[in-house]
């Protein structure tokens, strides 16, 4: 008995000694291996669903950097997602880029627009800044939708890149897994680096951060550009996944999807985007399959989750893990 207590105390000190912000490589490896196995053994349709979840996990995680940590709200984040896909398509169709360069161009276009719109949006705070992100999104959507000589209008751009680069679904899934894993680990590094500390400080108390010499605007702008870049990575992957791009990708529905994933996943938690993407996409797929009024069903489930666990799925997971930990 005494020995047992000693073991528990030892493991607790080991836990306490561990840097909570270091990447838990064992966990990452386990998740990646599990996901890779799933991708290889699952039938194509499940593979497609897994690919979609991975892409949206990255998009929602990028958005989460703003929502949970930098103290900003973006009501137009699909712009940076969609522009990744448009950057890829337009650089190939209009500038004759080879596909590899096009893939690199996608996220860079998103980051560029993140910089331009970000400069505008950080001038304001709170709801005013959020409204400005919405305005930027509306402008982008209108241009993409109407400038059809360049963007193809509502019938979009197709045929510029082979669907999934011509790879088999599980092969492309493994590519997406690699890219998304690296990108999410980079986001983790950003959040828990000195820069991330500054971003969080500005997000939590801008006045105090300013007193310490960290100007709100520049820090939020950096966070905005990083978020736009990684949203662009997700969008570029999505563009390759479908082999096309449409104005919908920069539209309000994709923005709402991202926001819902983060809220569902649990604000103020790094995993929000990942949990949110898994659950939201699952609901979205299943509910539409079995119910005519699927939107209502998804809506009700989201309301219930938010009421039962305001800290979202991340909070729920944390509580469950803690309880199991205590039992052990």
């Amino acid at each position: 008995m005494a020995q047992g207590d000693g073991t528990r105390a030892d493991s607790e000190t080991a836990l306490q000694r561990r840097d909570p912000y270091a990447i838990n490589w064992r966990l990452v490896a386990a998740v990646v291996v599990l996901q890779a196995v799933l991708l290889v053994v699952s039938p194509p349709l499940v593979v497609f669903a897994l690919i979609e979840v991975m892409i949206f996990a990255l998009y929602a995680s990028a958005l989460n950097l703003l929502l949970s940590f930098s103290g900003m709200v973006s009501f137009g984040h699909a712009v940076y997602f969609g522009l990744g896909a448009y950057g890829l398509a337009l650089s190939i169709t209009h500038f004759d880029f080879p596909i590899v360069l096009g893939i690199i161009a996608g996220p860079l276009v998103s980051a560029f627009f993140g910089l331009v719109y970000g400069i505008l949006c950080v001038q304001l705070t709170a709801i005013y800044a959020a409204m400005l992100t919405l305005a930027c999104a509306e402008v982008t959507y209108a241009v993409v939708f109407q400038w059809f000589d360049v963007t193809g209008g509502d019938s979009g751009i197709s045929g510029h890149v082979p669907t999934m680069l011509g790879l088999a679904p599980h092969q492309f899934g493994l590519v997406v897994l690699c890219v998304v894993t690296v990108a999410i680990l980079m986001l983790w590094r950003v959040v828990y680096s000195p820069l991330g500390l500054t971003i969080r400080a500005v997000g939590q108390n801008p006045a105090r951060a300013a007193a310490l010499g960290h100007g709100r605007k520049s820090v939020q702008l950096i966070a905005f550009v990083i978020s736009a870049f990684f949203s662009g990575v997700a969008g570029t992957l999505f563009g390759i996944f479908h082999g096309n791009v449409f104005p919908d990708y920069v539209g309000v529905l994709f923005t709402v999807d991202g926001l819902l994933m983060v809220v569902l996943g649990g604000l103020y938690s790094f995993g929000a985007g990942i949990y949110g993407a898994i659950v939201y996409k699952l609901l979205d797929n299943l509910a539409a399959h079995y119910f005519q009024y699927w939107q209502l069903v998804v809506g009700v489930i989201i309301v219930i989750v938010v009421i039962v666990s305001p800290s979202g799925i991340a909070g729920l997971v944390r509580r469950v893990v803690e309880r199991i930990g205590r039992r052990l």
């Binding site: 039938p43 194509p44 349709l45 497609f48 979609e52 209108a142 939708f145 109407q146 059809f148 193809g152 209008g153 509502d154 019938s155 979009g156 197709s158 045929g159 669907t163 999505f238 479908h242 082999g243 096309n244 449409f246 104005p247 919908d248 990708y249 529905l253 539409a288 699927w294 939107q295």
Partner: protein, 406 residues
């Protein structure tokens, strides 16, 4: 497990396999429907789904196609391209459908098109108007049974050339449909009647509710007609706001008016507006059409089918006849069958040409009139512009394909 049990199990398994084989012989033809049941297309698609279900019942009651019953798996694209693609892929891979149909918006059609190409599953579009899927990005297994944008632009020019109009102002919604239709219209009209002057081109924004500045700009040219490529609320605003400027007294107006517009706008549409439509039930006076309309109304509380319903019903019959003639669902045989037949549809006899798998579907243009026959206005003196006149030339198709492949 003793040998006897093993024997029993294997007998049962063998029987089951045998029965499975027998069932396979009479397996139904499986068709996957992907359409905007919800979302932006929801208002149009509901009638198409109802109509297609009626056609399906009739076809199956008459023995199906190629001796097999037809089964349709209905899926909602939510009018989102990525969702449409996902549903189409699901239908092909898990439901193992032999053929895809449906599609409403251009983007959804364009998103499903490559899936049809990739898996070699025929896609028959019943109600999407973009020409890009069959012309620019056409492949052997994508088919279109309704007039597309290029055809409609030409039909409008044909109609305008028959009128006594020498000075026209165009007013197209500022997006692909509006721009392309106006472009084709002006080009074709210049060929048909070079003396007609297009004095101004106006491009109201989509969703714009205040059209007064466009109305005054148009009227300042004192045109003989305004050619509007507008729909729904755009047409509604133009007519309502134009009233205070005496728009309809000072000029003629031609605009897109399909059945659901007449139903929703009702008496707001005055007599004397020139409208164009794709499948106006009231103008199709054949036994086939009348029987369908009666059946549809009976099943749906006296509601009339809209244009998309008419197109959907025709599309289902075209698919079934194609499968019947091909003796099954082999994509190439299906295509050859469609290309070699004449289809007796509610819109008259239709044929498909092989270069772009497009049907010579007619366009309908006429003048609005409130009559006692219906609780909403309809078009009278309907001009049917046949598809043979409006289909783009083979050179145009080749040029557009070459540009798309670049």
């Amino acid at each position: 497990m003793d040998r006897r049990t093993l024997l029993r199990i294997s007998t049962v398994l063998a029987l089951a396999a045998g029965l499975g084989g027998a069932a396979q012989a009479a397996d139904p033809v499986k068709i996957g429907y992907v359409g905007g049941i919800s979302g932006a297309c929801g208002g149009l698609t509901h009638s198409a789904v109802k109509a297609m279900k009626i056609a399906l019942e009739e076809i199956n009651a008459a023995g199906g196609a190629a001796g097999r019953q037809i089964e349709v798996v209905w899926r909602d694209s939510k009018t989102k391209p990525d969702e449409g693609a996902k549903q189409a892929r699901d239908l092909v891979l898990t439901e193992k459908v032999d053929l895809l149909t449906g599609v409403c918006s251009s983007s959804v059609f364009m998103a499903i098109n490559p899936i049809s190409q990739q898996y070699g599953v025929p896609l028959v579009s019943a109600i999407s108007g973009t020409h890009k899927a069959t012309v620019d990005f056409g492949h052997p297994f994508v088919f279109q049974t309704q007039p597309h944008t290029l055809m409609e632009g030409k039909a409008l020019a044909e109609y305008a050339a028959r009128q006594d109009w020498n000075n026209i102002v165009t007013m197209g919604l500022d997006y692909e449909w509006g721009r392309t239709t106006v472009k084709v219209f002006t080009e074709e009209l210049a060929k048909l009647k070079p003396e007609v002057k297009i004095s101004k081109q106006l491009w109201p924004r989509i969703g714009e509710t205040n059209l007064t500045s466009y109305i005054t700009a148009a009227l300042s040219e004192e045109p003989d007609a305004i050619m509007g490529v507008l729909f729904g609320s755009g047409t509604n605003s133009l007519i309502k706001q134009g009233r205070s400027y005496g728009l309809l007294e000072r000029t003629e107006l031609l605009t897109f008016l399909s059945t659901e517009s007449y139903m929703s706008l009702g008496k707001d549409i005055p007599d004397g507006v020139h409208g164009w439509a794709r499948g106006p039930f009231y103008a199709l006076d054949s036994d086939k059409a009348n029987a369908f309309i009666e059946k549809y109304r009976k099943a749906h509380d006296g509601e009339y089918p809209n244009d998309w319903g008419m197109l959907g019903y025709d599309a289902m019959y075209i698919i079934a006849s194609g499968i019947d003639a091909a003796g099954g669902t082999d994509p190439e045989k299906f295509r050859q069958a469609l290309g070699s037949m004449t289809f007796d549809t509610m819109r008259g006899p239709l044929k498909m040409r092989m270069i772009d798998n497009t049907f010579n579907a007619p366009s309908y243009l006429g003048v609005t009139k409130m009559t006692d026959a219906y609780p909403f206005p309809t078009m009278s003196d309907v001009n049917v512009i046949p598809g043979d006149v409006t289909l783009p030339s083979e050179e145009t198709v080749k040029a557009l394909r070459a540009a798309a492949a670049k």
